[in-house]
Symmetry: C2
Subunit: 765 residues, 2 copies
Amino acid sequence: MNKRSVFELNDVKLDNNTLLLHESLFHNANGYIGVRSAFEEGYPDAYKTIRGQYINGFYDFKEAKQAENLYGLVQEKQTMLNVADTQSINIYFDEEPFSMFTGKVLQSRRWVDVEQGVTGRYVAWCSPLGKELEITIIRMASFHQLSLFTIEYQIKSGNFSGDIMIESQHSGNVSNFFDPSDPRTADEDEQYLTPMSCNIQYGTSYITSITSKSNLEVCSCVKNFLSGETERQFIIGDNAARCQMVTSTQKGGTVKLIKYSVFADSLRVEDCKAYAAAEMKKALSISMQELYQYQEDYLAEYWKNCDVEIQGDDALDIALKYSLFQLMQTASKDEYGNIAAKGLSGEGYEGQYFWDSEMYVQPFFTVTNPQISRNLISNRYEALEMAKLNARILGHEKGALYPWRTIMGKECSGYFPAGSAQYHINGDIAYSVIAYYLATDDEAFMHEQGTEIIFETARLWMDVGIFKCDGFHINAVTGPDEYTCLVNNNYYTNVLAQYHLRWAVKLYERFVKMAEFREMISRIKLMPEEVEGFRNAADKMVLPYDEKLKINPQDDSFLQKKIWDIETIPKENFPLLLHYHPLYLYRHQICKQADTVLAHFILEDTQSIETIRNSFDYYEKITTHDSSLSKSIFCIMASKLGMEDKAFVYFGNSLNLDLMDHQKNTKDGLHIANMGGNYLAIVYGFGGFRLKESGIFFAPTLPAKWTSYKFHIRYRNSLINVEVFRDQCSFYLEDGTPQEITVYGKPYLLENLLTIKIEGENGEV
Amino acid sequence: MNKRSVFELNDVKLDNNTLLLHESLFHNANGYIGVRSAFEEGYPDAYKTIRGQYINGFYDFKEAKQAENLYGLVQEKQTMLNVADTQSINIYFDEEPFSMFTGKVLQSRRWVDVEQGVTGRYVAWCSPLGKELEITIIRMASFHQLSLFTIEYQIKSGNFSGDIMIESQHSGNVSNFFDPSDPRTADEDEQYLTPMSCNIQYGTSYITSITSKSNLEVCSCVKNFLSGETERQFIIGDNAARCQMVTSTQKGGTVKLIKYSVFADSLRVEDCKAYAAAEMKKALSISMQELYQYQEDYLAEYWKNCDVEIQGDDALDIALKYSLFQLMQTASKDEYGNIAAKGLSGEGYEGQYFWDSEMYVQPFFTVTNPQISRNLISNRYEALEMAKLNARILGHEKGALYPWRTIMGKECSGYFPAGSAQYHINGDIAYSVIAYYLATDDEAFMHEQGTEIIFETARLWMDVGIFKCDGFHINAVTGPDEYTCLVNNNYYTNVLAQYHLRWAVKLYERFVKMAEFREMISRIKLMPEEVEGFRNAADKMVLPYDEKLKINPQDDSFLQKKIWDIETIPKENFPLLLHYHPLYLYRHQICKQADTVLAHFILEDTQSIETIRNSFDYYEKITTHDSSLSKSIFCIMASKLGMEDKAFVYFGNSLNLDLMDHQKNTKDGLHIANMGGNYLAIVYGFGGFRLKESGIFFAPTLPAKWTSYKFHIRYRNSLINVEVFRDQCSFYLEDGTPQEITVYGKPYLLENLLTIKIEGENGEV
């Protein structure tokens, strides 16, 4: 990474909405722990705060009462927990407390440095009594040591000489955010975690808590170091430990505080407290400088694999890097977690995992850091037995059906027509496994986990579908677009199921003679007749097509519905789901997001370019993009179809969705799938990249406003650097063995550097 | 009524299931109050009891949390309340308490007398210490005075001489039934009613309670009279009053107790306590004998209008009379109430009103006691403004949409795909208004209320429907069959909407010149263009028809679904809704109840008899009759189609549904719609009766096992007695002016007595 790698905001606004937004934007995470960036010293009493610290995959069960119960409906959900508060720190200068809400803020700044992997806050402050101070706070969730979160204060005195008292808190009295006035968040303060012990050992505070229903344990421990410390006392009580430290400064002097927090949970380790103690010891065994260096080294390797750079538009460049950094912050580094819809940045969607992982984020990791995709697939593999049980609940005798939303593997959809009915999740997961296989050729993993997932999920299509005279139908399911529910032959679902079934056949035929494969198919009792059934269903799959419009209708009856001109809808009525009854939405041709258009992206070879173009034009008019998963896909397809200006507008909108809080709910957490979509938009959109069985493809175009851009693709054992200029694009093999690549439809062998001239709109050599 | 009018059971079983069932079967009600027949003296501690007393239309709001909330979904329901306990009475013979669970029951009997309008319990009992007693208990909910419920004890001593202490209770500490182990009932004891006062005035106890959310008040008062009373004391406390009375008896002597309970509620009166006091005074102003006589007189008039009698099958005869008596017990006598799905006999469906009223019960009242239909329609008219608001919630700019289930007019459906989406409720209500008009020619009522309901509900079809090239489509609604939800062009819905719209046009044209009508249409701003729209939509209404099967498919895509052979389903898996996920049901051709078959019954002239026959055959194979609203309709249609034996089987099954507890849930209350269906089954089924614009029609057949049967029809100002024998049927004008009637397709003028010979299967003169 050569360019500026810092996303920063100066003159921090102190209104509550901005602070809540910043808690998300500047949160720290490493795939294991996530800490929202609340002010350490807190806000005034009247302010709301979502002051959370989370652990990926750590959950409790929560009652999910149905207003009217039916067989098999979800009765409890899983929810990600706020596990402890280790970020609270109050500072008193001769008893005058530091707060940006009192005195005068002379200068302020918040930032995230995506190369160093830290966030920062800088405040030049004059206290009500006239003390001048500069405070710099650096926070880090360590990638080197996943259990570790650090906060470092540098307090520089201007005109102040005297005592500084610091109270660093560690509290087990935490609960998830609730807001009775917002129907989308919890409306009552539910006690999920019960602190069991709080004590001090060798100057480290330990708090151990257990969940109320899931029977999990979490331990957090905290240690503080203050320069020039003269006094220290711990106040323990009410499941919290306050460490009060005193130091002093002279005018122009500097004081430093480092606060280490370490977490351990019983999903991953047996003795949480012992593990936390060992991890704390490990963290303290090296200096803070070394920890920062490890962070940078770790990220250097990450960026080497995935760095994307835009020349000619610094704002978009850093926005894009911000996105990719968040993907790294978010993705679980072990199989106990996955990627929550809001990552570890907030409590929206209760920390649950959706298809977002497979269709928006994994495509990024698969071609940049495939070992992360592998972990994510393993997380699904671990949940395969529960997916089988889920299929039984829904009446299927064979196969597995992954839950639409989950943490530990059980379904959490409270409203099944827009939840469990989204059977395409099975296809999405299979698609991501196939993509991983295509990108890595990791046959061993396919034998261990990949093919079993593909077969068990393929089986479900056979049970849900039905052969009628004109083909294989999949009825009563919901596609990605939740503004239409419970339909027959959703195009996205069916075309994906077709692809899924064909790959099941292909993998079976490819591996059938191998012993480790035969062991698995015998264990899951997969018979050759069943595989024949897969082939037959795929061949006969119904893919709705309208002769008159020459498009793929979203489902069998989509075109029968009322047209609803988006232009006539008052702006304040978006997103529509918050302003219209679902029945009203279901009765109209109106889309929350890309559905058929997404299908045309991921499986572009199934339809002619004319059908894809007609469909794009048709659906674009009726798509509200009320989902954050939509614009990136429209960007890709606009780019594919030669609508460069349109693609560029979609790209900018998509990239700034959180940074500019377009959906007004980033306070509840970042839209992580959208961040993956941003990568897809530039690489698959402008770069024209595709990963297929026949290899990798590029068809780059350069947006008019840019000078150039580059991106990286890891394919098999090679790392390819792609750079796109106005009149040429270059492919450089940074690492690994030569690879065949296709550029603008022509095959090349990439051995070292390949430069191709761009001529005309669609690019030609 | 000439025959035995008592349904009785001897040797009362004392297992808990039987007792709960009997609480429903022998409940007392008069359309205003309902009292479940728990034993006055209670059951052993381990027994469950649904010891409820209810007031029609009296409700509280109850939270209805959605597991996942969407715009416009119901957040609270209404629930009918258990208002007080006035039925508890304990008797001590020289301190030995009476209980059927101790000592020895020598003889026992429970009965309901549908002519006298009372229920009874007789017990010949030998106490553990050998006292022999006969106790007869008669309970009555008075039709003459709706606020009044009485219990009369006659205690006859065999070998006992000594003191009898009677403790008669009156308690405000009541709550609705809950059972954490049954997902279909409330799972916690929620306190809806708070007793505000409990006191004694002039020997009468008064308890006044208020609801927690609906802000309603109810007052109950109780007075006891004991023969030979020597002592009396009241014990008041904890919102309850216990009246302890002492009397004595000699061997062979008789003691009598009468307990009067009177109820008043703030829906109907301003000062509940004053009203209750006045009503108590009124009740006490005449003797019990007179009260019994009034009850019998009232019912004599009722039976005169509706009596149905079967010769040759006493069991079916009394079962049918039992049904008709329950309809009378159940139906509100004022516009503050309607007909709850379980009447006033239990808490199933929370006392809410459904289409059951209009399509199953009103057809009975409309042709027997039309003033009750009129009240029921008025209850809907009172809720018209709320139905308009409901339409707005569902996105409709014009018109009214009645809630699928409600008490006070707001929607209570917790699961809208099988609730609010049943837009046919609008057509059902319109249908019932039209039927009332056809039967009574009550034009004044049409001007006051009827047409306004019809127009406002008709408007909704225009807003929900859509003209496409091939016709007028109604999308994303649910028909009566809840095993298929959210479909396009449900045949029942569409054909009913067509009828509804045509009648809207007809009534407009018929009344348009009348001043009182013009005032209304100007008030609701109904324009001639709108009426033209009604006509156009009706003419172009899409009515699904399958050329190959020559049936009306239930909806556009019904025949695309999987066939599921009912024979292969394990018996214990019925009703399917308790054993299969809705998505599984939605994906199969399986019906909970008559849907298209019901449409063919109520609008038989829309299709050829061949289509109706083919459809019957088709749907019969895939209908589970999991709904209690189904078999009566299949009986009618089997009879129409000449399948007499089949019709007879359906009839018997339907008639005994509650008496034999076929659905294993009669404990939660009687299936009132089914009881209406039983009337329809004999009169519309075997009697071949139809009420149409062109008059009334008969085509009687006599089931092979019967000697004869008769029924009554009130049409316009006349009462017609129809008697059907093996070889002839007779029509006798009991009352009113001559009427034209059609019998076996031939018109007659009924002036006095008309006898028609039955020849051949379909009957001919």
